[in-house]
C-alpha cells in the first residue's frame, strides 16, 4: 500500500513502518493478520479503525461489527433460503420429520439413523414448541456454517470472510442435503470449519494447554455429535487428516469415539443388513452438463434428482458454480503454501479423499468395491451415499474463493465492486435456492387426525407396537403440498413402530428396491404384500397392538365393505376394533382384551 493510502485506511489497512521510514511495497493491501505476522513488534503502529457514528456504543467499534458480520450474514441467508419454511407449522420433506409432542424415547430396530438427533429435538421440545425447535435448528445451521467458514479464512478483513461465509452457505451441497431433509448431517457440515480449527490447534498445543484444546475440540464436535452418524463420519474424515501429532490424533479419536457412542452402540448391536443395491441407488449422479465428476466438483451430485434446486442443472448455474469451484481450489492451493500452510494441505487431502469416495460409487470398479465392503460388514453401508463426503471440498472451495476475492477486493472503486461481485457470485449462481428453494420448503400443520391419534395411543398404558400402513416408507400427502416425506407416524409414538423401511428409487433402468434394514420387516413384507389374507394373527404374534392406516385418496371414493372405513386395509383386520376414524387416518386395535 502506498502511504497516502494508509492514511485513508479503515479497519482493514495498516501502516507498516520499519525504523521510522515507510516501507513502501513491503506488503500491498495486507490484512491485520498478515501485517501482524510480518512485523509483530510493530503492533503499536496499527492505525485505529474508523468508528461509524449513530450506532449503539457496543456496535460502534467496527471490529465488533466485522467480527459478527459472517454470523449475521448466515442468519440473513438462512432466512432468505428458508423463507416460507419459517412460517407457522412444520417443514416436512424427505428425511426431515418433526412431529408435535415428540416422544423422548422410542425403541427401534435396524440401524440408528436419527440418533441422537431425535432425542435432542424431543428434549428441546420440552421447553420450546417443536415447530420453533425445527426453525432454530435450521437457522443455526446457516449461522454456524457462515461463522465457521469465515473463521478459517487467513485474514481478518471483512470482505474475504464474508465471501467464505456466503460461498459455504449458499452451496449446492447444503441446498441438496436440505432438500433431502438431512438437517442432522448439515449440523456436521456447519460445525466442520470449527473442527478444522480445533484439530489444528490440538496438534500445536503445548503440554499445559492440551486439556483445554481437547475440550475445545469436543465443543467443536457437538453439532456433529447431535447430528449423528453421517455428520460424525464426515467430521472424522477431516479430524484424522488435520490433526498432526500422535498425541493429538489419539485424543481426537477418543473424543470423536466418545461422542459417537449414542449411535455407535445401537449400530453395533443392531441385527441390520445393508443391501448392496443401495450402492447403485445412492451413488452420486450428474445433475448438470459436466457429468458426475463435474457435478461433484460444483458441490452437487446428490443421488436424488428430486432433491435438486430448481434450475440447478441449467448450463448457466452449473458453469458459474464450476468457475467458483475451480477458482476456489486454486485459491486454496495458494493459501496452503502460505498463511494456511499448516492445516491447508491436510484439509486438501481430506477434500480429495472425500471427493474420491463420492466419485467411487459412480464408477463400475468403485461400486463393486463398495458393494463388497457392504457385504463384508454393514458398517461400510454409510459409504454408499458418497456425495456426503464432498463436505470438506465445499470448505476448501469456500476458503480458497475467499482468498481470491480478498486479493481482488482492493480499497479502490474497482476493488470494492470486485469484492461485492465475489461475495454475491455464489448466490447469483444459484438464485433459485432463495425462498424455500423456490417453494420446495414450506411449513404446514398436521391435520387434526394426527394429533388425535397420537393422544389416543399415548393415553393407553398397555404395551404393544404400532403398525403403520400402507406398507411403504414415504408419502406425498396433499396437505403437505405433495412434498415427499418419510411417514411421520414413524416418529409420532413413544412405542416401537413397525414400518416398511424398504427404499424404492426410480432409475433409468427401472426401480431399485433397497431391501429393508430391519430384519422384522424383511419377514413381514411377504405376509403384507403376498396375498389379501387377514393379518391379525401375524401382527399379534409380532406384539402389535395398534394399526394406523393412512387413508389413500383413491380408497376414500370407494364404498364396498373393505373400504367402509376409508381404507382397503380394513379387510385385512376384520376383527380389530376401530378406535378412531377420520378423513386422513384410521386407528385399529388388535388386542380386544380391553
Amino acid at each position: 500500500m502506498d502511504h497516502a493510502g494508509g492514511a485513508r485506511a479503515g479497519v482493514d489497512d495498516v501502516a507498516v513502518r520499519v525504523g521510522g521510514a515507510p516501507r513502501v511495497n513491503l506488503v500491498r493491501h495486507v490484512s491485520c493478520d498478515d501485517a501482524l505476522r510480518v512485523l509483530p513488534e510493530r503492533r503499536s503502529t496499527i492505525r485505529a479503525p474508523r468508528v461509524p457514528v449513530g450506532l449503539p456504543a457496543a456496535l460502534r467499534d467496527r471490529g465488533v461489527l466485522s467480527r459478527f458480520a459472517p454470523a449475521l450474514t448466515g442468519l440473513f441467508l438462512g432466512a432468505l433460503v428458508l423463507g416460507p419454511a419459517l412460517g407457522p407449522g412444520f417443514v416436512l420433506r424427505y428425511d426431515m420429520v418433526f412431529v408435535p409432542d415428540p416422544p423422548l424415547w422410542t425403541a427401534g430396530s435396524g440401524l440408528p439413523r436419527a440418533v441422537p438427533s431425535d432425542f435432542v429435538v424431543a428434549l428441546l421440545s420440552l421447553v420450546v414448541p417443536p415447530q420453533v425447535v425445527q426453525k432454530l435448528v435450521l437457522l443455526a445451521i446457516f449461522v454456524l456454517a457462515a461463522a465457521g467458514a469465515a473463521a478459517l479464512v487467513p485474514s481478518r478483513r471483512t470482505v474475504p470472510r464474508l465471501a467464505a461465509a456466503v460461498c459455504y452457505v449458499w452451496s449446492a451441497y447444503l441446498a441438496q442435503r436440505l432438500l433431502l431433509g438431512h438437517w442432522a448431517l448439515l449440523l456436521g457440515y456447519a460445525g466442520l470449519p470449527f473442527v478444522v480449527l480445533a484439530a489444528h490447534r490440538l496438534g500445536e498445543a503445548r503440554a499445559g494447554a492440551f486439556p483445554g484444546r481437547v475440550a475445545r475440540l469436543a465443543l467443536a464436535l457437538v453439532p456433529a455429535a447431535v447430528g449423528g452418524f453421517q455428520a460424525m463420519l464426515v467430521s472424522a474424515l477431516v479430524l484424522v487428516a488435520v490433526t498432526r501429532t500422535r498425541r493429538g490424533l489419539l485424543a481426537a479419536v477418543a473424543v470423536s469415539g466418545a461422542l459417537s457412542l449414542p449411535w455407535l452402540i445401537p449400530a453395533l448391536a443392531a441385527d441390520a443388513a445393508a443391501d448392496p443395491a443401495g450402492v447403485d441407488a445412492f451413488a452420486a449422479r450428474a445433475d448438470g452438463p459436466f457429468g458426475t465428476a463435474g457435478s461433484l466438483l460444483t458441490l452437487g451430485g446428490a443421488w436424488n434428482a428430486e432433491a435438486a434446486v430448481p434450475g440447478q442443472g441449467l448450463l448457466w448455474s452449473a458453469s458459474v458454480r464450476l468457475v467458483v469451484a475451480v477458482v476456489g481450489i486454486w485459491g486454496f492451493l495458494r493459501a496452503a503454501r502460505g498463511p494456511a500452510k499448516v492445516w491447508g494441505p491436510r484439509l486438501a487431502v481430506a477434500a480429495a479423499v472425500g471427493y474420491g469416495i463420492a466419485l467411487a460409487g459412480a464408477t463400475p470398479f468403485g461400486a463393486a468395491v463398495l458393494k463388497g465392503l457392504g457385504v463384508f460388514w454393514t458398517g461400510f453401508g454409510p459409504l454408499r451415499d458418497g456425495q456426503v463426503y464432498v463436505a470438506p471440498l465445499a470448505l476448501v472451495v469456500a476458503v480458497g474463493f475467499a482468498v481470491v476475492v480478498g486479493g481482488l477486493a482492493r480499497r479502490d472503486a474497482a476493488g470494492r465492486i470486485a469484492g461485492a461481485v465475489g461475495i454475491l457470485a455464489p448466490i447469483l449462481a444459484l438464485p433459485t435456492l432463495a425462498w424455500g428453494a423456490s417453494g420446495s420448503l414450506r411449513a404446514v400443520d398436521y391435520p387434526a387426525d394426527w394429533r388425535r391419534v397420537q393422544a389416543i395411543v399415548a393415553a393407553d398404558p398397555a404395551p404393544g407396537r404400532v403398525l403403520v400402513l400402507p406398507w411403504n416408507a414415504y408419502r406425498a400427502f396433499g396437505w403437505n403440498g405433495g412434498r415427499v416425506v418419510l411417514d411421520p407416524a414413524v416418529k409420532l409414538f413413544g412405542r416401537e413402530v413397525v414400518w416398511n423401511d424398504t427404499l424404492v428409487v426410480e432409475a433409468a433402468g427401472g426401480e431399485i428396491a433397497v431391501a429393508a434394514e430391519n430384519p422384522r420387516v424383511r419377514r413381514l413384507t411377504e405376509a403384507v404384500t403376498g396375498s389379501d389374507a387377514p393379518l391379525e394373527a401375524v401382527f399379534r404374534a409380532e406384539g402389535v397392538r395398534y394399526v394406523l392406516v393412512e387413508v389413500e385418496a383413491a380408497d376414500r371414493a370407494k364404498a364396498d365393505n373393505c373400504t367402509l372405513n376409508g381404507s382397503r386395509y380394513r379387510c385385512r383386520f376384520p376383527e380389530a376394533d376401530i378406535v378412531y376414524t377420520g378423513p386422513d387416518l384410521l386407528l385399529l386395535r388388535l388386542d380386544r382384551s380391553e
Binding site: 436424488n304 434428482a305 428430486e306 449462481a429 396433499g478
Partner: protein, 43 residues
C-alpha cells in the same frame, strides 16, 4: 478504469444470468405427485 469496467461487466453478467434463471424456474410449474405413496426419489 479498465478494472472498474471489468468488475461491473462480470457483475452485470452474473445478475443477468441469475434473472434469467429465476424467470425460467418461475414460469415452469411442475405437477406435484398426486398420490399418498411415493418412492424415496428418482435418479
Amino acid at each position: 478504469m479498465l478494472r472498474v469496467i471489468a468488475a461491473l461487466t462480470v457483475g452485470a453478467i452474473l445478475a443477468m444470468g441469475a434473472s434469467v434463471a429465476i424467470v425460467n424456474v418461475a414460469t415452469s410449474t411442475p405437477e406435484p405427485p398426486d398420490k399418498p405413496l411415493y418412492n424415496y426419489g428418482g435418479r
